[in-house]
């Protein structure tokens, strides 16, 4: 399983557990669109590599979240992936945050 989903009343935290997000994990990512909550956090902790298939899947998810009126945040993102997310407009839909800054949102 590439994803571990932690669900609260008002939040969902999606922990990506693989070191790469590619065509295989893309299928799992597209499968979690119905499990997003008002505040959804994607934790990229162990991720070292994301290819175009992974980026496309993430973009589809974040745009879906926006359509559903849900707020999505990314945490633990490397400098390289921050740059790539910026290039593909991902940050418009999923800003990068620090986990500690999001604590008030998930503990409210």
């Amino acid at each position: 399983m590439a994803l571990k989903v932690e669900q609260g009343n008002e939040f969902t935290i999606i922990h990506i557990q693989n070191d790469s997000v590619d065509a295989t994990s893309a299928r799992e990512i597209s499968g979690i669109k119905d499990r997003m909550n008002q505040t959804t956090i994607m934790d990229f902790g162990p991720v070292m590599f994301i290819n175009s298939a992974g980026i496309s899947a993430l973009l589809k998810l974040v745009i879906e979240a926006r359509k559903q009126g849900k707020k999505l945040y990314a945490v633990n993102v490397t400098a390289h992936h921050r740059k790539v997310f910026e290039m593909v407009d991902m940050l418009r839909y999923m800003p990068i945050a620090k986990m500690e800054d999001l604590m008030p949102l998930i503990s409210a």
């Binding site: 290819n51 175009s52 980026i55 790539v84």
Partner: protein, 180 residues
Amino acid sequence: MASDQLIEEPISALAFNDIDIQIPSDLVFEQVVRESAVFVAKYLGFDEERVGDLQLVVSEAVTNAIEHGNNSDINIKVGVKFYIKAGRLAVQVSDHGHWVEAAATVETALEDLDMEDRLAHNITRGMGMFLIERLVDNLDVKSSAKGTEFTMWFNLHKGDEPDSPVSFNIETQKADPNLN
């Protein structure tokens, strides 16, 4: 000439010999090249961000060569060559496809389409080229009846990155209709 005007090659770059890799056209082997790219980048002293850039563009170019150049025919090889020329690292990916559409693909990737529009029109196939175009310092595409050579260039010295968008040199030659 002042000493600070001299451009010195990193010692690792001076010791760098060409690396040639041939893989069957199966996506399983893309990882072999991807990991080689990480090794080369670290050997040459690239910082972590640039290591990620090189890894990503090599992966995307090899995936394109396997899927579109060689139509995933496991009997045909994709060639990948790492070499240094004029203070730059070149990664040349070659396949046997008559990648005449390469030029058009690159031109499409250059267009600044809104990402939401791309997704709405399901234009995700060009995502790999979109990323390559933005992460390399230069790109050469040579396509002929024999196949396609796709060469990505990375400046070895930080700060040498061009201010203007990357330049592309695209040479296409129509496939001989008598072939195939």
